[in-house]
């Protein structure tokens, strides 16, 4: 079992809210976990927001897209690590996904595409596609519709670490 140290990432004054590890085999088998985890986390961290209901609804929608993306990633044996941190109105989500080279490339490349010109059009194209839904759509949605700041870095040659900074509610401190 591999365990990746993400705690060494600079937190820039972000305070930890919630954190868990999950064996990737569970994530491979259990689709419903995407819904469970997003609903659970959203309920846990929304209570002190100005509008807890609205906040938790939007957070759950965004987390679910992230978890579904991870679900659709071919993962290596190991621990999937989820962390959520907060600074003022910014929520930072980090996810470490144990995976091989191709899958690391998927994340790195999608983040690049999201930053490229024409990303908004691309998002709509994916969202309304007639074919089977492209698994990039969730990451595009976070960037385009929720204006999330995202980055992906390879963790050695074993995993990828995805960081998402989200502002769901303006002016909360």
């Amino acid at each position: 079992m591999t365990d990746f140290q993400t705690d060494s990432l600079p937190d820039d004054g972000f305070k930890p809210l919630i954190e868990f590890d999950l064996d990737t085999t569970v994530l491979n088998d259990q689709w419903v976990y995407c819904d469970f985890m997003s609903s659970f986390v959203a309920n846990m961290v929304s209570h002190n927001r100005a509008d807890p209901f609205m906040f938790s609804n939007l957070l759950s929608a965004t987390l679910n897209e992230l978890f579904e993306t991870v679900y659709r990633t071919r993962k290596e044996a190991g621990q999937f690590r989820f962390r959520m941190l907060r600074k003022g109105s910014v929520d930072r989500i980090t996810m470490v996904v144990p995976c091989g080279r191709d899958e690391r490339q998927f994340y790195l490349k999608t983040i690049e595409e999201i930053r490229a010109p024409g990303a908004s059009e691309k998002y709509l194209e994916l969202l309304f596609s007639d074919d089977e839904l492209d698994r990039r759509v969730g990451l595009f949605e976070l960037a385009i519709s929720y204006k999330a700041q995202m980055s992906a870095v390879a963790v050695e040659d074993k995993a990828v670490c995805l960081t998402v900074d989200l502002v769901i509610e303006q002016g909360t401190d």
């Binding site: 995407c34 209570h47 609804n57 929608a61 969202l127 309304f128 949605e141």
Partner: protein, 391 residues
């Protein structure tokens, strides 16, 4: 915190109104899982004539798989049936919906998207206006003196889970919190300006046990049977169909718990001296509200409304807020804010002429005169009623 009504999802069709309703949480792994629902949607839309409605007001969640499936069906219907237009009704309370359905509208202009709770209620613009804040604040100060005793006769106790629906600026919820030490209080309203104010007040008083939630009282996202005590004050009168709100109050109330409502009958406001002018004006207030499809005369109808909604053990009483309760200036202030709202905003909106407005205002001025007169008396009657949700 209050947890929302959650998965699984449901769908249904009202053939009469051609409304296909989706509710709950749709997060399928692949589109095949929601095949039955998509097929039903397609069949209903194909059979529709003229306007076809898709109601997603309570579709709390949908992942992209489900959204993509729904959008595909709608796009296909629009293609096949140029004579059918689609209207999607969503609620601004369910945050994710406007983002995605507005994108769909931009793609297919024949699909219209409306936020149901925005323009739906009569007089919404009056009661959601931020100037309304001062009216509410003064009213609660005056009614609380009575209600804090009355509430005990209607089953209020310590340690309860309470919901205050149509909470306005949230001051009543704060007062409840201080007086009755509840486990928690959820206070819901549909006016963002009022809720902002409410949260500011709670922060100022360092109260963390009251949760202010944006929502639509006719279609709340609060769970069934959750609250020991549900209050809804001075609000049934702003809806054209109060029974719809009552059925929601009933739904969120625990079996055995109680729903408490308070309402006015404005034409019964009174004063001495100058009784006649005062009475004329308040009779006109009742007509004015009626013009905007609201019933400010609901007070004495409370008993029937509660019984019709299925409540039992109805308790009902009335009290009169008067100039003698506290500082008569307070009473005068409340009337001043009514005068501004009723004569300056509402009557003008109705298109009343200057002569009418002058006479209309005179009655409020006379009520103020009576309140401040050393030998005067001015009153504002209120009816409170409560009922138990059967076990």
């Amino acid at each position: 915190m209050a947890v929302a009504v959650s998965s699984p999802y449901e769908f249904g069709y009202d053939e009469n109104d051609q409304v296909f309703t989706l509710a709950g949480s749709m997060r399928p792994k692949d589109v095949g899982e929601i095949d039955a629902c998509l097929k039903a949607l397609q069949t209903c839309a194909r059979r529709a004539t003229g306007m076809f409605y898709l109601n997603v007001r309570r579709l709390l969640q949908s992942n992209n798989v489900a959204f993509n499936g729904l959008a595909s069906v709608l796009m296909q219907v629009c293609q096949e049936r140029p004579d059918v237009n689609v209207t999607i009704t969503m609620s601004s309370v369910v945050g994710w919906t406007p983002r995605k359905f507005n994108a769909l509208r931009r793609k297919i202009p024949r699909i219209d998207v409306v936020e149901y709770d925005k323009d739906f209620y009569p007089g919404q613009s009056f009661v959601e206006d931020s100037s309304f804040v001062s009216v509410l604040r003064k009213q609660t100060t005056m009614t609380w003196r009575h209600e804090k005793h009355i509430l005990l006769r209607h089953g209020m106790g310590e340690g309860m889970k309470i919901a205050d629906i149509c909470c306005g600026i949230g001051d009543f919820a704060l007062l409840l919190f201080r007086e009755f030490n509840p486990t928690y209080v959820v206070a819901l309203d549909h006016a963002k300006a009022s809720l902002d104010y409410a949260r500011k007040m709670a922060k100022e008083f360092n109260v963390t046990g009251v949760e202010y939630v944006y929502g639509d009282a006719a279609e709340m996202l609060l769970p069934n049977g959750e609250f020991d005590f549900v209050t809804c004050r001075h609000s049934l009168q702003v809806f054209d169909r109060p029974e719809r709100i009552l059925s929601e109050l009933f739904r969120i109330c625990k079996p055995g718990g109680r729903v408490y409502i308070s309402n006015e009958k404005n034409s019964h406001c009174l004063g001495e001296p100058r009784a006649e002018s005062i009475q004329w004006t308040y009779n006109e207030v009742a007509k004015l509200w009626k013009y905007f499809n609201m019933d400010i005369e609901i007070g004495p109808k409370s008993r029937r409304l509660l019984l019709d909604a299925g409540f039992e053990d109805i308790r009902m009483e009335s009290f009169m807020v008067t100039n003698l309760d506290g500082d008569p200036e307070e009473f005068a202030d409340v009337v001043r804010t009514w005068k501004d709202m009723f004569a300056d905003s509402m009557a003008k909106e109705r298109g009343d002429d200057d002569a009418f407005i002058r006479k209309f205002k005179k009655g409020f001025d006379d009520h103020i005169f009576a309140a401040l007169h050393p030998k005067g008396y001015a009153g504002w009657p209120i009816w409170v009623a409560s009922g138990r949700r059967p076990l």
